[in-house]
Structure formats: C-alpha cells, structure tokens
Point group: C2
Chain length 335, copies 2
C-alpha cells in the first residue's frame, strides 16, 4: 500500500458518515445527494516544481488544471457543470499571470460545458493552482469498487506519452538537447502536447455511465501500475494486464528507441495520461467498443480481472507485480 | 481601486455569460442554478507566511480554512452543506500533518452542518490549504450590490481583535515579549483566539437571508475600510461610518493602550475578523436587532449609506477616506 493510499484510509476514519454522501472520499470524485438529484464533485491541485515545471506557460497550466479535474469527473461518469479556481502565485509576476491561468481554465472547461463561477487569489513563493469542479452523474456513478472476477480491462487512448513529453519538456527547460535524433517535429509535439495539454475523456466517461456498461473505472493520473492497483484494491480483485496489449503510440515507440527507454515502462510508471482504465463484463465488451467507435475514442482491451489481489503485467510466461509503478503524492517531486 | 479589485474586473471580462450563473464572481460567493434549486459556492486559499504564520498548529489551520469559507457563504445568506479540501505541504512533515488539517476542517465545518466529501494532496515547499465549499441559499442571496441611500450600516461582533491577535502571535513566534503588560491572560487569549479560530456568522447570515431584511452584505475579511469600500462600490453608493460607534472589545482597548496603537486603526485595517458588514433600511433596523438578540449575536449600527461613492469614517466633525485601509491580495505578506 502506497503512503498516499494509507493516508486516504486514515482520512476516511476521520470523516463522519452522512446519509447524503453517496460516494465518499477515496474515489475519483465524491457524489452527494443534493435537493434535485446527486451532485458529483472533485478537487485537484497543481504545484509548481511538483506537478509542473517552473516557468511553464500560465495559460496552458490553467488548461491543464481544468483537464485533470474534468478527468476525475469523467472517471465517475459525470457531466461537468461548474468550477472554482484558487491561485497562489509570486505576486512579482503581476496580475497578467493569474489572468492567463484563468483564461486557460475557462477555455478548457468551456470545451466540456463547464463554467467558471468563482475563485480566490493569494501571494505565495511558488505557484499553486487548485480547481474544484462539480457536475451531475450521467447514470449510476462508476466507482473504483465494482470490478468483478472475469471482467475485461480496457483503457482509453495511448499511455506513456505524457511521461515522455515531461522528459522532453524538462530537457528543454534545462537547455539540453533540442531536437531528439530519430523523432520528427510532429512526433515531438505529440508527446509534449500529451504532457502540457491532456484531453480528458469526458464524453466517453459520460457514455459509459449512461449505458451502464462499466463495472469500475479510475483515471490514469499517477501511472497505469499504481492506478490499476488502486482499482484492484478498491474492488477486492486482481488485475492482470498483457504487456503486448498496451496501447503505445508511434511517437512513444520512437522516443523509447532514441532514448533507450522501454516504452512500456513509461506507460506503467509515467502518469499524467488522464485516460480511463475501466472494466466491463466480457458480454459487454463489444458494446464498449461500439461506444468507442461512435465517439472516435480508442478503447483497448489490455487485460482481465481475476479473483485475488494486486495488479500485474504479463509478458509471455513472465508476470510481475506493478502496483508500485507510478507517482505517490507523498514522495514529492515529479516534474 | 485596489489591485485585487481591478483584477476581479478584468477577470469578469474573461468569463462567458451563462444563464445558469445567478450571482457571478466578484461577490463573496457565486450562486448558480442547479436542477432542484440554486447552489451557492465559494473557495478560499490560505498560504503559509501570507495568511498564517509559519509553524502554526495544523489542526487550527484546518479549522480556520473552514471558517473563512463558511464566512463567505454566511455573507451571501447560504446554508453550508459540503466542502472539499486541497492541501499542499512539505512532505517531510509527514502524513500526520495533513491529517491534523483535515481533522480541524471536519470539526469546524461539522459545527455548521457541512460535510467534507473530497480532497487532494500535493508536496510543496510551503503549506497551502484551499477549501471549496457549497450550500443552499436560505432565501434570496444577499449580494454586495443592494445597499441603498438611507440604509443603516451594521456589523456583527467585534472588530480588530484578530489583527491584535496576529500581532501577539507574531511576537510569540519571534520569541519576543511573552505576556503584555496591562493585559490579563484571558484578554490575551481572547485576541489570540479571534485570530487563530474565528467564528463565522453562519446562523446570522442565514437568518438575514431568510427574513429578507438585509439589502447588501460582505464579510469583513480584509479590513473594515477596504471591505466597506467594496460594498459601496458594488452598490454604487457612499458609506459613512462613525468612529465612536465601532464595536471594540475590552481586550482590544487594553491591547491598544499597552502597545500605544489606536484600536480603531486595527478595526479599519486589520482584517481577518470574519464578521458580517451589512445594510438594511431604517424601518427594518429593529427587526435586525431582534434577530441578533434571538441568536445572541452582537449587531451594531456603525453608520449609514448615502448617495455618492467611497467609504469614510467620521470622527466628530472630521471625516476621512478609509477604502485603502486593509489587506490587498496582490500586496503579499500579511502574516
């Protein structure tokens, strides 16, 4: 158990049980009973030097802060509606800095139907951007805890691109290698964009909830390994993924070759993908693929759910534990 | 116009108009139309070294983070329901640190009927605590913009105590004077408590909204001067306060004497009071006082609303402008 997950368990003991809390802290988002129906809510904070590199473009940071929260609501199958933004920043940057953050947040949230309705500002030594987002479940909320023995495990999009993009961005910030041998300009851009400006799978998460075909879901924010482990743990099952099935993009494969890094490792441990990892019964697998086709979202079968516990990756006849592959919020610096 | 207020005006231009946003950013809280009725929401962030002293007790910080947000909902006349908490902190403090923050937030919010439903953690060089709180308006939301020529201006509780408490706390942190000549232990404690553990006027704000007797309200978080100026500006009126009417507590008067500081200056510029400044028509003034008696809250008539603009303090025949008395979030360090 990662320190962060142990923390969440200790945290839950502090919280009073309330009949109006339908889905409690520990999932991607909370769902509460409000007059007129359930409300889904989430909060995520980005900190300079931890969640992003110092000196990153503030408008893009605003977009990213919106996206990581939109991804949490997507994982639970809720339609985003409203958000608030708290920004702490070094005031010597001037008021244009937080305004650029706001502009990015407003634009990104607006693309998914959510409106910025409030905020707060404070001075600070390092920039911190906290978003609180809420909306309405599109069907029964999809928790992390419903995966069942025999389920198929799916993931949307490509994995590991953001981790490669972060490495590229870090190199650029350090004024190191500009232009990676073996990588075209557009391949490099694809990886950088995956890191700087992730696309939350809102429409797909909403469709899964509306159709009621996912048993459990989590967004891949800290790395496929650790997040698969969290889903397995919450559901009381074991998840076995197939290495050859992992969706790895052409740019990631090239990046891996050029750098001598195994692309699957970036997928397992990289984080920041903001794709949805979810399970469905084998009978519903084709319906899942139908939804994906309709929404032009890639959904790949990457493994299966078994009785047991933990999460592992199978590579031919070898199988290794992957639950410790990824980012832990107690272990600090990732950017 | 303070830099922060100018910022809010530039910010508002960035926000798309939405028919579901009933009260937009710039007030104490936003109110949005949700299925099943309006929802009031607010967010406030506390930053170490800015909004609180380094090394302050984390449980008390958690209580304070809840209180400043509860106070914003109180100002708009909404009943708090749910909140989320984002904590960035130096991870070398260990997981007990954020747990203590959570414990304080859960306890303080619980006293006012609000339940913590979610959160996020990140590493950071300095501690930052962001709360997002939402609830339901108890009647027509009380904005900052409804004050009318001829209104009576009221304030709840005492002013300036938190500013005195902050000075005491700062002295203690600097290992300077322990025990202030002329101040008893209980007087010192009253001032320290006003700073460390402010009490939001939730029941009173809800009662004002339910009875529909306040024309406009704001919570006094940045100083009576600047906050009176904000209310006047939002309403397009002038506010004239009477120096002799300001509610100054016995401990504050003693503190002022002992330190050679004019107590009224702490009330005007100190901030962190989390009392409600509001206006009502003269015919409703006695009803206001009836509500205050019923709830055992002090509500003092401290001035009146006139045609014109700005905010001033009258002292005998002298009158001076007070809109620049208080904290501006662009000017950094206050703690």
């Amino acid at each position: 158990v990662k320190p962060e997950d142990r923390f969440v368990e200790r945290l839950k003991e502090l919280l009073p049980l309330s009949p109006s809390v339908l889905i409690a802290p520990g999932d991607d988002a909370a769902v509460v009973q409000h007059a007129g129906g359930p409300l889904a809510a989430t909060t995520d904070v980005l900190v300079e030097g931890i969640d992003f590199l110092p000196g990153e473009d503030p408008e893009r940071l605003g977009r990213r802060a919106a996206a990581v929260n939109l991804s949490d609501l997507a994982a639970i199958g809720a339609r985003p509606e409203f958000l608030m933004l708290a920004i702490a920043f070094p005031t010597e940057l001037g008021e244009d800095y937080p305004l650029a953050v706001v502009r990015g947040t407003v634009a990104r949230a607006g693309e998914f139907g959510a409106t910025l309705v409030g905020g707060d500002l404070s001075a600070a030594a390092q920039t911190m951007i906290a978003v609180a987002l809420w909306g309405r479940p599109a069907g029964n909320p999809i928790t992390r805890s419903g995966a069942a023995d025999g389920d198929v495990v799916f993931v949307t999009g490509f994995l590991g691109q953001a981790a490669a993009g972060l490495r590229l961005a870090r190199d650029r910030a350090n004024a190191a290698a500009r232009g990676i041998p073996g990588l075209s300009g557009s391949e490099e851009r694809a990886l950088l964009d995956a890191y700087h400006d992730p696309t939350p799978q809102v429409a797909f998460g909403v469709a899964l909830a509306r159709e009621g075909i996912a048993h459990a879901a989590i967004d891949v924010s800290d790395g496929l390994g650790v997040d698969a482990g969290r889903l397995a743990r919450a559901s009381g099952v074991r998840i076995v993924l197939e290495k050859t099935a992992l969706p790895l993009s052409e740019p990631l494969l090239r990046f891996g070759e050029a750098r001598g890094i195994e692309p699957a490792e970036l997928a397992l441990a990289g984080g920041d993908d903001y794709e949805l990892l979810f399970t469905a019964s084998p009978e519903d697998a084709e319906r899942v693929e139908g939804v994906a086709r309709r929404l032009a979202v890639r959904a790949t079968r990457i493994g299966r759910v078994e009785a047991g516990e933990g999460a592992s990756l199978r590579d031919g006849s070898a199988e290794r534990d992957i639950v410790s592959f990824g980012h832990d919020h107690f272990q600090g610096k990732r950017a």
